[in-house]
């Protein structure tokens, strides 16, 4: 039986009727059209589906949509508007931190959450914060460099 829930996604409230077995990732992608959230494994191993729920990065494939009822959710679509990019996005583009792009949404959201908490992270802190997000393309180095650069940009 469907349950009516409210998800506040990227500062906008959505009322959706969902089956209780549907994950947040499914509802974000299929019901609400936030297709920037990627699903790489569906069981919480890869981190591609990372979104920010009430300030914390979570694997949206491991959260039931009903559990997120009333929560504030940020997806990759919600961190910048129009032509302006969020500094983390800008740095990812500029520093070559993106290849195939499938991990990028989750990676950027993990990085952004880190920088929101810690404006001047060390390299080990950056690596620890991103350790739940797998990337098969880059070897991570340019991602780490981009997060450093974004931290610098956000201070200005």
């Amino acid at each position: 039986m469907k349950k009516l829930i409210t998800l506040i996604v990227n500062k906008k409230a959505f009322e959706v009727a969902v089956e209780p077995n549907r994950t947040l990732a499914q509802v974000l992608r299929e019901d609400l059209g936030f297709l920037g959230t990627k699903v790489g494994c569906g069981i919480g191993d890869c981190g591609a589906c990372t979104v920010v729920v009430d300030g914390r990065p979570v694997n949206s494939c491991l959260v039931l949509a009903v559990q997120a009822n009333g929560s504030e959710i940020t997806t990759i679509e919600g961190i910048s508007e129009g032509a302006e990019l969020h500094p983390v996005q800008e740095a990812f583009v500029e520093y070559g931190a993106i290849q195939c792009g499938f991990c990028t949404s989750g990676m950027i959201l993990s990085a952004k959450t880190l920088l929101d908490r810690n404006s001047n992270p060390s390299e080990p802190e950056i690596r620890a914060a991103l350790s739940g997000n797998l990337c098969r393309c880059t070897g991570y180095q340019k991602i780490v460099e981009a997060v450093h650069a974004a931290a610098g940009m956000m201070k200005k």
């Binding site: 990627k38 890869c46 583009v93 195939c100 499938f102 797998l134 393309c137 880059t138 070897g139 991602i143």
Partner: protein
């Protein structure tokens, strides 16, 4: 060196912004009105005769629109190499591995499709299962394909020079065995596709493929469609690394059901299905015998290799050749013998993965060379330098080193790593190791026999003159080909990077064999360069007529037409342009005539300006059987130094530092080249230290998840010092050649050699787990006690 504006720079990727904002669309993001969802039924047993398939319950389930089995799909065989087409869309008489496709369903939603697939009843008569390639070749072993009663699907026997005679002249001969483990591509995006059919326009398939051209051909052949009525196009593709380089049942079954239902159908693999489908790196069992002279001169190599092929051929014929042909180089080696056997087993088929066929061979040999250098009392870098090939050398198997910065790579990593300060001076538990690598820059021949061009390209200047439209059928899979080809187009035409709009990965744009064998920068790059030059020439011809200046006296750079003589009066053309663009926001101004104005003038004179390009390699060496696998218009090479810490109590290996130099000929995009190097090293590190697809006794993948099949996280990868070497390849566009695959080659052996330096033990089996190192340390301790 010539000054370039767009190439050899660090311009950001053309698709970076779309990917950073979540706007990039991958196959599973696509949907269409009235779309159906597909699901597969796959064999739960590794080897069985299929007695009966009953789909009646599935068909009766409300919401189910189509159920297909071999009965509907037919018996047309396909695969990668026409010489070994051994697959059908669905199993006909037998299932040969856990995951072999039995049936597919299309329904109004995914839940219904999955439920219906589960309602299909299959009667299996289980057959004996053979999982080990050495058991599979024994007399009386279960036969997997009737045509290959000994289960050897492909074998190779090659000899160059006379190895037995040459070994007799050697001062030192040693034999070593080496084995890697079956890999998974572990690209982040599971395969997905969407097909729709229009009786007039034919079939369209959007697929997460590396090779739209081969998929198009396979769809036409297997589904019996005119090839002109099959279009295959890529959305964004979330990595490939090899396993996405051939047509698969997902694509074929989705297309079949789209044709049958007349409705769009989408189907995607789960992560578990990615492991079942596999087509990733084989397991190789190498035995290498190498002979050298006292002074370190390499004389002969004998290489025997058994490959665990899995249940179907996939890329395996090429793989079994590559496991032999990619050795020898980058060293001068006059005598080489290779015997390779690819064996069918009841496991998911193995295929191609980054460094196709050569990675385990390279690991085995570079470790053996390290042992030989030590036995001779030579520094491993000096030993390698002594034998290194240079530009102009030709290998005993006829590969032409039209460029080869191998010496420069080795010297760069020696310097960059501080080798001389560290080698032999590190405490126990710390080690430093070196290795070299070598790879083709594009396969010299297509997979099917043909005189086809390997890459075509088209450039159409917009009629207003303001945009360069680049249409390339080349496959962007994340490696950055769209960016590199955009740069090449802009540079060759003389416009700015942002003036070019690239569209790619669509068979409607022409022929490109796809993203495999590290071919696109060189081959697609050539085609794009030619197309751009042709468009540029047409524009200059019109200008020449209208301004009465010879074409040779004009150049185009940064979007401006440069005249070699002073005082050229182009005011009439400018006035005309401004008049017909009244009210537009960007009227041309300044003292230079712009390419936009020139392109507009060309359109007004001639109609739409289109330049085309086409590339295939020239005559390549090698007349012997199998020469088609390994001959290439150019070869990339690399060297790497790795430093490790090994916990002498637990055997745990940590890679502390990697210094890598790669000769890519000429870096079209420096950031992308580094990205390919770093990504390769990461995949190599994973294969060296933890990656292994494991099976239970019944042939089921025991670790089909990214949690249990461990790929490196950012805590496992150290920072890499990446050094780009540019040897200026004469056969490459602007001197460019490969980096995407060759860069993985030295990583595993450099790690192995560093582990030896740290511990004094050699590891001949991957992955180098703590347990394996611990056991070897213990063995070594006991051996010493006995001595």
């Amino acid at each position: 060196m010539k000054e370039y504006s767009v190439i050899n720079t660090r311009v950001p990727r053309v698709d970076g912004r779309a990917k950073a904002t979540g706007k990039a669309r991958y196959a599973d993001d696509l949907s269409m009105p009235d779309m159906l969802y597909g699901a597969l039924l796959q064999s739960p047993v590794a080897h069985a005769r299929i007695r009966k398939i009953d789909t009646s319950k599935a068909k009766k389930l409300p919401g189910v629109k189509d159920v297909v089995t071999a009965q509907e799909a037919g018996a047309v065989k396909f695969g990668v190499s026409p010489a070994r087409y051994d697959e059908t869309i669905f199993c006909i008489d037998k299932a040969r591995y856990v995951g072999d496709e039995i049936a597919a369903v299309a329904a109004v939603d995914l839940e219904t499709a999955l439920e219906a697939a589960a309602l299909i009843e299959v009667e299996y008569e289980e057959l004996p299962v053979v999982l080990d390639p050495f058991e599979a070749i024994r007399e009386g072993a279960p036969v997997i394909h009737e045509d290959y009663p000994n289960n050897i699907g492909a074998e190779v026997h090659q000899e160059f020079g006379d190895v037995e005679e040459a070994l007799k002249t050697c001062d030192l001969v040693r034999t070593d065995k080496f084995v890697n483990k079956k890999q998974d591509g572990a690209f982040l995006e599971p395969q997905a596709c969407l097909a729709f059919y229009d009786p007039g326009r034919g079939l369209t398939l959007y697929s997460s493929t590396q090779a739209p051209h081969y998929v198009q051909r396979t769809l036409a052949m297997v589904l019996g469609l005119p090839i002109g009525k099959v279009r295959v196009a890529q959305p964004c593709v979330g990595g490939g690394f090899g396993p996405k380089a051939s047509a698969n049942t997902l694509e074929l079954a989705t297309s079949l059901m789209a044709i049958r239902t007349g409705r769009p159908v989408k189907m995607a693999f789960t992560r578990e299905q990615v492991f079942w489908h596999s087509r990733a790196r084989h397991q190789f069992f190498h035995e290498l015998t190498t002979g050298v002279k006292k002074d370190g001169t390499l004389v002969a190599l004998k290489n025997t290799c058994y490959l665990d092929g899995g249940a179907y051929s996939s890329f395996g014929i090429a793989t079994v050749y590559y496991a032999g042909s990619l050795l020898g180089a980058p060293y001068r080696l006059p005598n080489m013998k290779y015997d390779g056997y690819r064996v069918y087993t009841n496991k998911p088929a193995n295929g191609a993965q980054r460094g196709h066929g050569g990675v385990a061979a390279r690991a085995a040999w570079e470790q053996q060379l390290d042992i030989i250098a030590a036995d001779l009392g030579m520094d491993p870098i000096e030993f390698r330098l002594k034998n290194i090939m240079q530009r102009g050398d030709i290998t005993c198997n006829d590969f032409n080193m039209s460029s080869l910065g191998m010496k420069e790579c080795l010297e760069a990593v020696r310097r960059g790593s501080g080798w001389e300060k560290k080698r032999g001076k590190l405490p126990r538990g710390k080690g430093i190791g070196v290795a070299c690598g070598f790879f083709v820059s594009g396969a010299g021949f297509p997979i099917y026999r043909s005189e086809t061009f390997h890459s075509t390209a088209m450039i159409k200047l917009s009629e207003d003159g303001g945009t360069v439209n680049l249409y390339t059928p080349a496959a962007e899979i994340g490696q950055g080909s769209d960016t590199v080809l955009t740069q090449i187009a802009a540079e060759a035409l003389g416009v700015r990077y942002g003036d070019v709009k690239v569209s790619s990965g669509d068979t409607d744009f022409g022929v490109d064999l796809g993203a495999y064998s590290s071919r696109q920068t060189l081959m697609s790059g050539h085609a794009v360069k030619q197309a751009a030059e042709e468009a540029r020439h047409q524009v200059l011809e019109v200008l020449s007529e209208q301004l009465n200046i010879p074409v040779e006296e004009m150049d185009v750079k940064d979007g401006l037409v440069l005249f070699k003589r002073e005082g050229v009066d182009f005011s009439a053309l400018r006035t005309r342009y401004i008049k017909e663009h009244r009210g537009w926001t960007d009227p041309p101004s300044g003292k230079h005539f712009t390419f936009v104005e020139a392109a507009r003038a060309a359109y007004l004179a001639r109609g739409t300006i289109v330049g085309t390009g086409a590339y295939k390699p020239g005559e390549l060496g090698g007349k012997y059987k199998g020469a088609a696998v390994g001959t290439s218009p150019a070869y990339g090479c690399s060297a790497q130094v790795v430093e490790v810490t090994v916990d002498m109590e637990t055997g745990q290996v940590t890679v502390d530092k990697m210094t890598d130099a790669h000769d890519c000929g000429f870096a079209i995009n420096r950031t992308n080249v580094e990205g390919q190097m770093q990504g390769s090293l990461s995949m190599g590190l994973g294969e060296a230290l933890f990656e292994e697809v494991k099976f239970d006794g019944k042939g089921r993948v025991a670790n089909p998840t990214l949690g249990e099949y461990r790929i490196p996280t950012c805590l496992d990868m150290p920072n890499v010092e990446t050094i780009i070497i540019e040897s200026n390849e004469p056969n490459g566009p602007f001197g460019a050649k490969e980096v995407g695959e060759g860069a993985i080659m030295p990583t595993i052996p450099a790690i192995l050699n560093a582990v030896y330096d740290a511990t004094g033990v050699r590891i001949n089996e991957l992955p180098v787990t703590s347990e394996r190192v611990f056991d070897r340390l213990k063995e070594e301790k006991e051996r010493r006690k006995e001595v």
